[in-house]
């Protein structure tokens, strides 16, 4: 009787701790299953898919080893696209980060009415890239766009903007930055606000001028934030898609054919999913390298 009772108590405790143990797994289950199925699985599938081709003769999926990679690596359009993406990245990322840093420092000033400015700068962050691209496409219209209207008032002749192989990529940079600069400046502003004021006051007392306290105190303290913004910005711009689809479709003369747009063109417009997956695999590798560098930089600062 007594033993049975004890047994009962023991099994109760056992049941309770078992239930305790599985609670976190149950809580995680829905989100985790969704993430595994819709995020992890497609990642693996990208790499697997890149080794298959659709046979022209039978229409079947056939294992092809590295044939897709060989195909894209021998394809001048792929290289041109990669080249455009690299040039774009090398311009747009430093530009956006420098402007974001400047804007966030302006927004960090304790001046009357600064809250209104911060609210206004939040507008582009809330608006989608599509809307931005549509509005700027019309603003940059080569015949009657408002930007050309303003240039006309200043006595400058019409510019072709999105219609010129020399200016189209710059126009895309402008469109991406209209959202990007206010967005990334939010992160840097949050970082600036985390710097305790006494630190900057101490620098002032020690005789540092504004430039010195910026380079020797502010910037080092912003290192983590800037590293994060650099990587997140690089990845976001690396994957820029909507503005290309809605303005230039990669043209003129492939001058704005950024890499994600090229994979979309291959996969969906030409139905060449093998080549598309091979390009995506190359892009995955590039993102891995970028983020790997980030983790390395972040580790160094701790």
């Amino acid at each position: 009787m007594c033993v049975a009772h004890l047994n009962q108590a023991a099994s109760d405790i056992f049941a309770m701790t078992m239930r305790q143990r599985i609670v976190p797994y149950l809580l995680l289950l829905p989100a985790l299953v969704l993430l595994l199925v819709f995020n992890l699985l497609p990642t693996i599938a990208t790499i697997v898919e890149s080794t298959f081709v659709i046979s022209l003769r039978s229409g079947e999926r056939v294992f092809a080893g590295f044939a897709n990679f060989e195909r894209i690596f021998n394809d001048p359009i792929f290289w041109k696209s990669l080249q455009v993406t690299v040039v774009f990245s090398l311009v747009v990322n430093p530009l956006q980060i420098a402007l974001s840093l400047g804007l966030s420092m302006l927004m960090n000033q304790r001046l009357p009415g600064i809250g209104i400015f911060r609210s206004i700068y939040l507008l582009p962050v809330a608006v989608s890239l599509n809307v931005t691209a549509i509005v700027w496409r019309l603003l940059l219209d080569k015949n009657t766009g408002m930007i050309n209207g303003i240039l006309f008032n200043m006595g400058i002749e019409r510019q072709p903007f999105l219609h010129s192989p020399d200016q189209a990529l710059w126009s895309i940079i402008l469109i991406a930055s209209w959202i990007g600069v206010p967005l990334w400046s939010l992160f840097i502003l949050a970082g600036l606000q985390n710097i305790p004021p006494p630190v900057l006051e101490a620098a002032k007392i020690d005789g540092a001028n504004a430039w010195q306290s910026f380079t020797r105190v502010t910037l080092p303290l912003l290192r983590r934030v800037l590293a994060f913004v650099l990587v997140a910005d690089t990845v976001a711009n690396f994957l820029l898609f909507a503005p290309i689809l809605l303005t230039t479709q990669g043209g003129p003369q492939l001058s704005t054919n950024l890499i994600l747009y090229e994979t979309y063109r291959r996969g969906f417009l030409y139905g060449d999913l093998g080549a598309s997956a091979a390009m995506l695999s190359v892009m995955l590798l590039i993102v891995f390298v970028i983020v790997g560098v980030e983790l390395y930089v972040l580790r160094g600062s701790d």
């Binding site: 969704l34 608006v127 994600l260």
Partner: protein, 292 residues
């Protein structure tokens, strides 16, 4: 003597500098505001303008381009007559389901990561972190499309909705917030014999307003603004979302500029109206995920 002069000069300069610096800051801020506001003002004004007059004051530029001087609702009437309302309803439906169903799943996961110690926690967390930062969703859209195709979910609500429910950024947001709740609050309820779900519902939820608003805004706006995935997975007319609808109009009605802009203004105003009253939460939702 020399030192005396420079000291005096410095003292004289100081009040001037005290004015100059704020003046310069305001000037630069105003230039930035013009760059932000003028495109939106022109687009809004042009959406209320007859189509043949959309560019009238834009080239050559006059201030009238920024105000709807020839006011008409024609563009809005036309797009709604063509079924734009359907895309708004569709997007709102998707956004609300994502916020409530996805929000619940993400909150539970965030609670598990924030409040429990269990085997494999770090490994699981690493997997999610890696997935989020190493594999952006747009990069795997094509294989995800193939997967959805195998499920037979192309052109269905499930196909649009289910892949976007779990959101690792939102999980981070919840985890961070839940980890900071004082343990005593939870212990007290647990000693009273409350189950975990009960603790979540009646202790944690009522004090979680900031994170709920932040996560809700993040999910709602990212669903409202989502474009690439709906474009791929649900091209059927009845399932079109706002962003896809306006982007297709670029191709189909590319020269009916005022309608294009009317659709764009509707697509823009919803997130703007949501963000403005909750700025602090929204900024925290965006930056909180990256600054941990």
């Amino acid at each position: 003597m020399n030192a005396h002069v420079t000291r005096r000069a410095r003292r004289n300069r100081k009040p001037l500098r005290a004015y100059l610096l704020p003046a310069l800051v305001y000037c630069l801020l105003i230039i930035g505001v013009l760059i932000v506001v003028i495109p939106l003002m022109w687009a809004a004004a042009a959406s209320f303008t007859p189509n043949h007059k959309v560019f009238e004051y834009a080239y050559p530029f006059s201030w009238r381009a920024l105000l709807p001087v020839d006011f008409t609702l024609e563009a809005y009437e036309n797009i709604f007559a063509r079924g734009f309302g359907q895309s708004i309803t569709n997007t709102l439906f998707l956004a609300f389901v994502t916020v409530f169903v996805g929000g619940a799943a993400n909150a539970l996961a965030g609670f598990a990561f924030g409040r429990f110690e269990f085997r494999g926690k770090n490994a699981l967390f690493m997997v999610i972190v890696m997935l989020t930062f190493l594999v952006p969703v747009d990069l795997t859209a094509i294989p995800r499309y193939i997967l959805i195709n195998n499920f037979g979910w192309i052109n269905t609500w499930q196909g649009l909705l289910v892949p976007g429910l779990a959101n690792s950024l939102v999980i981070f947001l919840f985890r961070q917030f839940f980890a900071e709740i004082p343990q005593e609050l939870i212990d007290a309820a647990r000693v009273d014999g409350a189950s975990w779900l009960r603790v979540l519902w009646s202790i944690v939820l009522p004090i979680s307003k900031p994170v709920l608003v932040a996560a809700g805004l993040l999910m709602f706006i990212s669903q409202w603004n989502s474009f690439f995935w709906p474009l791929l997975v649900a091209p059927r007319q009845e399932l079109r979302v706002v962003q896809v609808e306006i982007s297709l109009a670029v191709g189909q009605y590319g020269t009916i500029w005022n309608e294009l802009l009317a659709g764009s203004m509707i697509a823009a105003i919803v997130p703007i109206l949501l963000v403005m009253p909750f700025q602090r939460y929204y900024v925290q939702a965006i930056t909180g995920t990256g600054l941990e």
